[in-house]
Symmetry: C2
Subunit: 384 residues, 2 copies
């Protein structure tokens, strides 16, 4: 096991009718900016619950944070905050709204050009306090310190992290998933699944607790994820997917073990260039990344095959091929397509994506820094 430091200070309120908790969780004197996306929270009742909970608070709102939240949109919120003196952000939405709100929280307190937080890794030394009402289980952003923001002008999609933007609290009410469209459910399950894989499918360091926790999350997503697309979905299925997605990227399963993240790095470039949803890119890349790294990841691939998928591993090479095929098949079972061609992206993309990776210094990715530009190119080519 590797040395690690770990803490997760986000207060989780999980379950039915938990949105009312925000009334007490936000200081009574705060002037709250409620941030959200395209307005689905108005049709599914979440907006009304938030308004009811904030009846004794001073608050305003900022809508229009888009999927793959843009620097340009976020900066409009920053301007509003400065004009109106908001001092608390309540993000109501999925990963994009939360990621955008994290950047807004940091940018509102940043002296200088906030783009530097993303482009130059400029230090975040202050941020507005942030709370979350989660409407889409997927990214884990509701209880971590990470954010990814895109620049529409430059086609850059870049991450930053700071403990100052970690949400103080997150309300997770599985019933909000009832009105989610299939595409968002699909994205959520795949995103959460790949988050676990990035922290699990590396090389063994005898982190038995971390491995078993990761395996438990993968099994839960494999069992419960496809049930989200049935006609009759239970509260329990939604609750299990929601909690698994949060646990998938709250720092716990990655503490003390190597991490990969090469699939995510390729995926970010694909989204920035071709506009695929984040999870769509992951489903395109991951099976080919697993195949390309099958020797480096051999032991963990076999462990995954055996413990998560229940495969017979007596013939190791066959088991690994089966594990990769079953992973892609799982993506199909949650309605996810797994080839560039499914999204109308052609062979010319390979060079363009590779050039972006090079421009962003992504020339040695993965837990062994073994995913060179050549490997990335081969993975992308195999994913057409």
């Amino acid at each position: 096991m590797l040395n690690f430091s770990f803490v997760n200070p986000t207060q989780i309120h999980f379950g039915k009718d938990q949105i009312a908790h925000i009334a007490k969780a936000i200081p009574a004197t705060a002037k709250v900016l409620v941030t959200y996306g395209g307005g689905s929270i108005k049709s599914n009742g979440v907006y009304d619950q938030v308004v009811a909970a904030l009846k004794d608070h001073a608050w305003g709102e900022f809508s229009g944070i888009e999927p793959n939240p843009s620097y340009q949109t976020c900066m409009k919120a920053v301007e509003l905050i400065k004009q109106e003196g908001y001092d608390f952000i309540l993000a109501v939405g999925g990963g994009s709204v939360i990621d955008g709100s994290k950047f807004i929280a940091a940018a509102a307190k940043f002296a200088g050009e906030p783009w530097d937080i993303l482009a130059k890794g400029a230090q975040v030394s202050a941020a507005l306090p942030l709370g979350v009402v989660l409407t889409l289980p997927a990214t884990g952003s509701e209880s971590n310190s990470f954010s990814v923001v895109s620049n529409l002008d430059t086609h850059d999609k870049l991450p930053f992290a700071s403990p100052l933007v970690q949400p103080l609290f997150a309300v997770l009410d599985p019933t909000v998933m009832e009105s989610l469209p299939t595409r968002q459910l699909t994205n959520g399950v795949v995103d959460a699944f790949v988050h676990v894989m990035e922290q699990y499918l590396t090389y063994p360091v005898q982190g038995k607790v971390q491995d078993r926790f990761a395996e438990g999350l993968l099994q839960t997503l494999i069992e419960e994820g496809p049930k989200l697309f049935a006609d009759d979905v239970s509260y329990e299925t939604r609750a299990n997917v929601m909690w698994a997605a949060t646990m998938a990227l709250n720092g716990l399963i990655g503490a003390g073990v190597p991490q990969d993240w090469s699939t995510h790095m390729l995926g970010h470039e694909i989204t920035a260039l071709y506009g695929l949803d984040h999870a769509q890119t992951l489903a395109v890349v991951l099976p080919r990344m697993m195949a390309a790294q099958r020797e480096a990841k051999r032991e963990k691939l076999l462990q995954y095959a055996q413990r998560v998928l229940g495969l017979d591993v007596s013939n190791e090479d066959v088991a690994i091929e089966q594990a990769i095929a079953e992973t892609e098949s799982f993506f199909h079972r949650v309605q996810m397509k797994t080839r560039f061609a499914d999204y109308g992206v052609g062979a010319e993309a390979v060079e363009k994506i590779t050039a972006q990776l090079e421009r962003h210094g992504m020339t040695a990715l993965g837990e062994h820094q073994a995913v060179t530009l050549d490997v990335s190119k081969a993975v992308l080519s195999a994913s057409l």
Copy 2:
């Protein structure tokens, strides 16, 4: 899954050479009282590492916090704190030192008779900040808000809990386990194991993440625990046991699922009356409590048998008997005795312990409040 609120704000520093972290984790201006037990930290090098790390802090020490920390000893520390103006406690030890230090932290700020915190559930409204250097993985006290303290005069062993006494940080260095005597290692493994069982072996609520995390901890303890008693113990074994013990009682696996704790309630009375180590009492009670509750716990007993122990469950009753027998056998494999007779406690204990349970209002224990005094009496009788 049940509704829940969960947060764990303790900053964990895990691994070799992490004790130095305390220098930054404690405010530079703090006047630190280092609390510890019988002095084993002086022979195993931990004391010297703490002293080195505190070289720029003002600090003093209080030693002699005993196993099953007593109210009487703790109050001596409270007096010292008031005399000398200490404003930060650094607990260096195992669960007893940490539990005692939590009570000291609360009692030092308590207006009134601090025993009321334990005896009357008096509200803790302030406490000194507390940090921990863990020397014995077992209780999970290093990252939770619980404490159990005994009154030597009245033979009461009583718990309290407050978020104000949850440690701000905990240093977990597995190498400190190298010098631990067998008895303490035994106690630690059994204590952690039973903590998981109290939160897992109840009735199913479709908490798939919680169940799989619990099962992962049980498997880790079953695999790694016995290795602690070999001639040559690896760092990885110690690290896995240490991390499993912390995760066993930091609130995570119990969030959103029913909990039992009947074995613990009986165990506390046994320790208070007969002085058995806490974990010894758990190992005596648990197998018989499992048997007594076999119908109420049927589904989870079968899940435990199948998933944790890998038993064939086609004959359910046989599988349940085997699961109970294997649990007791696991305790034996970590050098733990499991009968009252092993500790010289005779049949007269049954009535005495039951009377104490009655006196403390423990008349309907467990997840179904089905462990009445009659059930407790039967469990105790069967454990002779």
